[in-house]
Symmetry: D2
Subunit: 431 residues, 4 copies
């Protein structure tokens, strides 16, 4: 039988030193919130029930087109990745599911994989297909596109790959397929915009046809990269057009880093919620492009404003509102496990803060056009230090009060560094 990767006793010992302060701070926060007519226990319950998926590829060190600098103990296969995800969930209790990327995460026995996950207390979130890079032995190249390629054979290959992802997902208990393509163009004139979009619809329709009735399909738009002049699903408008054409199982996924500069993302979220087409999120942060930095590391208030829309929609009972949450980051200079623990906590923190917004007062201020009062209601929630609440939720769940410190104390990285020999090579040379 599989044991959890971190010794529970270590967690207990670490927590013991902090427990008194956590209880004290939690109690004081409770008093402060009570003065604002907020029941801290209700918030704590909602936060405890909240989860965000870990992408399997996120536990490996990321890179850029210039280089990749791997760390010790890089996961060698999907089982290693699952083990790392188990660490993250054991310490933080905020990440109950894993999202796989095919073919990177293919293995010979999905039943074994599913069993291993269950042993760790993990489930499987959306499946991710990959038609943006070529695999050895693949008959058709995706150099000039996949689902939108001018060649029918290439499109058929890409469709078949997506259907294979669904099949694997069914074996694992997943219920969603995320489709992101690198298709687009690098030169004005390279691609006929309208025809490429039509081919996209033709191809995705075939994938939808293979979708089980209880699955959803998530379309992920992106303004650029790897295509640098145009992309086929460049923004939420195109994503919405496609999702509408493809039917009710298809919705629009929002990755926080896939937008033009200055774009108001929370407003897009509101539009998709109203149109009943919000699939969910890939959380990360960015300053320049699709930087895939840790969620909330650069613009924490922007993340809050997104959650403000989500909490408002839930509060108002918007029909069909059911977004999926996933982290999607590239950890180039940190231990990926640490970044994912911390990012999951950041997402959780932001959710907790959004729950603190006084919705009735906000409605009134909005109705009265009292802009200052309205914005201060959001700010007051955001300024509230909910750390004691997050710690208390973890304490109660048997997770670590201070997950990063406990992780460092555990020696896990050194242990897998020894057990997993370094991969040769790794990126570079592409400029």
């Amino acid at each position: 039988m599989t044991s959890l990767p971190i010794d529970p006793q270590l967690i207990a010992d670490q927590n013991a030193r902090l427990e008194r302060h956590v209880r004290n701070d939690y109690e004081h926060l409770g008093e402060q919130l009570a003065r604002r007519d907020v029941d801290i226990e209700r918030i704590a319950a909602q936060v405890a029930a909240f989860g965000v998926a870990i992408p399997s590829w996120g536990v490996g060190t990321g890179g850029t087109r210039f280089a990749r600098f791997p760390g010790a103990g890089e996961p060698r296969d999907v089982f290693d990745k699952l083990q790392d995800c188990a660490v993250i969930h054991q310490l933080g209790r905020a990440t109950p599911t894993v999202s796989l990327h095919i073919p990177w995460d293919k293995c010979s026995d999905y039943s074994e994989l599913r069993g291993q996950a269950q042993a760790y207390g993990l489930g499987f979130d959306a499946m991710n297909s990959n038609t943006f890079s070529d695999q050895a032995g693949q008959p058709h190249s995706y150099k000039f596109g996949s689902l939108t390629h001018t060649d029918a054979g290439t499109r058929a290959q890409a469709v078949a790959h997506n259907i294979e992802c669904i099949e694997i997902g069914k074996a694992l208990g997943s219920q969603a397929l995320t489709v992101w393509v690198g298709d687009g163009s690098n030169f004005p004139g390279q691609q006929h915009f309208r025809r490429a979009f039509d081919r996209y619809l033709d191809s995705t329709r075939q994938i939808v046809a293979a979708l089980p009735a209880d699955w959803r399909m998530f379309l992920e738009h992106k303004i650029c990269e790897p295509a640098f002049y145009s992309t086929v699903i460049q923004d939420w408008g195109s994503s919405y057009l496609a999702a509408t054409a493809l039917g009710p199982q298809v919705q629009c996924l929002v990755d926080l880093g896939h937008h033009a500069p200055n774009v108001n993302i929370e407003l897009i979220v509101a539009r998709l919620i109203a149109a009943n087409k919000l699939a969910g999120f890939h959380f990360n942060d960015s300053k320049y492009g699709d930087d895939d930095l840790d969620a909330g590391s650069v613009s924490p208030y922007r993340l809050f404003l997104v959650f403000n829309e989500l909490v408002a929609a839930a509060h108002e009972g918007v029909a069909g509102f059911n977004p999926a949450y996933m982290l999607d980051q590239s950890h180039n200079v940190t231990d990926p496990i640490e970044s994912l623990i911390d990012s999951a906590e950041q997402v959780q923190r932001t959710y907790a803060q959004a729950l603190l917004v006084d919705r009735a007062a906000l409605d009134a201020a909005q109705q009265a056009n009292d802009a200052l009062a309205a914005t201060k209601l959001l700010k007051r929630a955001f300024q509230t230090d909910v750390q004691p609440l997050l710690q208390q939720v973890r304490l109660r769940a048997g997770a670590a009060v201070d997950p990063i410190a406990t992780y460092r104390a555990s020696g896990y990285r050194a242990r897998v560094g020894a057990a997993r020999p370094a991969r040769a090579g790794g990126g570079g040379g592409i400029v």
Copy 2:
């Protein structure tokens, strides 16, 4: 009877000095194009038939929130504006219609106005409503919105104003209403995004109900300004959502300066064409925001790429394709008449260049993923110097070969400078 504002003899005299070179250059260009299997006369005919509307407010000097520096002979009313538009059309023959802004262009006798326009050889393009500024004596203020205001009375006032614009337009022979609102918010939380959008739909539905059967309504989106945190119709996605909800008479207008940085505008144009929702354009150019610079003055190739989509759609016979073209610029440091003459020529030039693209070769290159060949086909058309063709078209139409030089020779600005006393004051003080 109204005479044209510029003495035709002056035009003839000015042209006489250039005519020989125009014919010679046109002939040589014809030979070059013939080698590329292009019939110059076919292009000339299409260019001669092309027109772009002048906005009535464009003939006055524009300004910024910091200051406005008026020039001599600023138009005092809609009749003065019409006279200036007549100069532009007489010299360039590319601007057969005028687009009015209400209440700025209100007058006591629309029949007289229509007659005056006809005497100038001008017609009326789309009507523009104004609910982004308050007029003296107006019962409700638009400080916190118009069509989306939380107050029903303010919304009703804004709806009524738009319906009044339609009525005036009917009297003038217009067939379209352009709706742009400044509604939005300056602070996170100030506005409930979904409710504001619903109110927008409610209000615009009432306007659509008043629309004659042969009219269209154009929704104009804008990412920001005057609202600086969110706008109600912030991008083409929201514009499309609204236009779809409002029915087939309602389409999406593209102003080239209303997008986030880096956005691929020609791709948006392609999407709207495919969705049969492209209303038309407000042409201008920009480097930073909604700068309202002269069309093609900063990014002429971007303008070409937009026209490449338009010409392709016409070439392919896309059903329902029928965009309206208007200039929408703010002339802060030039004589507005000169800028409008030059911008109309720039739009015409770009259209001519887009007509030169070898569509069959482009299709083949796109199909073969020959990106370099495809992009060079566009570039070759763009690099072609079509000035002789534009000059020849004007020469044949009795317009000026060199409109700016002829305008300067005419002394028109000095004449109206004397006839129209300067307005006092003029902007400033807003920071």
Copy 3:
């Protein structure tokens, strides 16, 4: 003798209801900070000593090129403005100085003005010149530039105006002149870049020559607006070139909204600190351009990262480090007094949070390239809810615990609304 504009008894009464909670929360925060080896009293003392200047023009309602929607009780002259500034300082005790704009704030008796300010407990910060709009009767127009105009007479007029600002400032006890020009161009080719910069240096050199020995001159760069193709001092690089050429009294002012999208402002601040050329700040916030929104209202963490650089420089004792702080916002939809009170508190809050950063631990994490630990140290400081500290500082200073609520309770706006008749007209008509 001048009395303070808000009845001190009202403040005391309002505070009385909150005092118990403030003391309790302050005490608990003190315990939490003590665990992090931070002495709350030291922070409180630093915050109490911190001040940010109010721009005189900020107490009037702002606007855009589209419209201005004034509120009740708009200040009619500099004495009205001073009174409004006194309200802000009385309630918040964070804004001890006022920054004037000439000619808007000209008056007949500067000695009287200075006396009035002293009676309010206010001083005068940097003087601001205005060569971006024309004044009635001005011999030369600034339509095509001021300090960089091609015409020597226009440049001389602009230089003389700046020297007049210095003279007024001397009478008022100011010690700095802020120079921002709207000079630039709207068209490629309109301006010879190098010659315009040379003319800028020639003109500013004459202003520097008139600068008292104990004054500084602040150069304010801006990427665009009102010039929309190029500006003469477009970024910190050009500002630095000019400041270096002009000598040690001249430094570079950073307005948070004057940069290209995505630019890392805190990095620019660090560069200017290292080069001993940081003049200070115009605080505001922005999402799209120079939006002049309330400081920290959209990107509070960005403001924190700027303060992190400032506190680090002070902590390390960087020689010559002495920045000036001013708010520079446009209040279009709020009561300007409320926005300024709130923004000053936001700046104060951010300063307090930056003081909480564990600098020794940060140094160690940076030295060890422990990116996660380093960034968490900043985040921990930012996440700390310092509201009790800010309230306690105000309580001790006789200001309002909740300044906005107290301001609303005071009825000040209604009072000045009655006393100050509305100005006619006001903006609009510029598109």
Copy 4:
């Protein structure tokens, strides 16, 4: 003895079919230019003397962090690269030098390499160091920086590598070293901005000390990537600060894709020219980030405006003006040889167009603030179709009138595709 890679007879045959039209078009263009007082032969001579360097890495297929899709005949070593460069220069005669990247282009015998280049008629431009990726067996990793690393040993290694590049360059006849580092940070707080910059200066000072007296060192700034929160030389301001601190041999290189959105690059060029710190250019184009698209492929007018500054500086005889020109592009979807041929021609075309600007008339228009006339002078030059001139220059030099067509007719790619076996692997897996 090395023969040129393309059969000269093929070029002659291909040219023969086009020669008559070239002469005819050239003659007509000459007449048109003569009317504008431009001597076409003077322009032709300047264009013939113009050259832009090819980066050795540019002849291989580029890629992104997502994938690389190699083509046939990828160069295996620096000798293969040199051969590809020889093709480019033989067909276009616009690219007389090659710029090497160390260690990618290391070889065992630099004398042999130099001889091979001479046999092709090629020389060596600036050397490029690489401290942004780790090489096998390297003692210190650049994961957390190179010239700015907190560890002195790592910095020393990076310095030594740069000095090695100088040594290799000396053997090859190069006279410049380009230093671009990937150093920066991905998280707020990760790096101490001022200390990192100081370390940069310390390290680069040691490199400057090793620079031969007739060499220059080029500092290349970049706003982001591979570091995504801050970079050490983020903009021209920091580049200028460093170049000034490092002395007269050190100048600032401008890569067209390394700027924030909306930034006016030609204005930066003007500033660096005035400060005598313009090193030269890395030409490419971009729409979103550092896209490394083909020069002028997206924004040809922007490229023209840069050349307008260069031609103006040369025209005015600015002291010390001597920029280096290089292409720096990533060819992901085209045959790199074709892209480089075409991009070199595009740079040449743009230079030719900038030479056509009527400088005296422009000066007069600028002096008179006649913005429309000024901008039309630039536009008229840009609109001129100089293709006949470029063809004539190539014809006279024995290059191909239509280099892409001749290249395709030569079968070179198929030939090297057979001679150079495909490399295994190739990018991917980094997300």
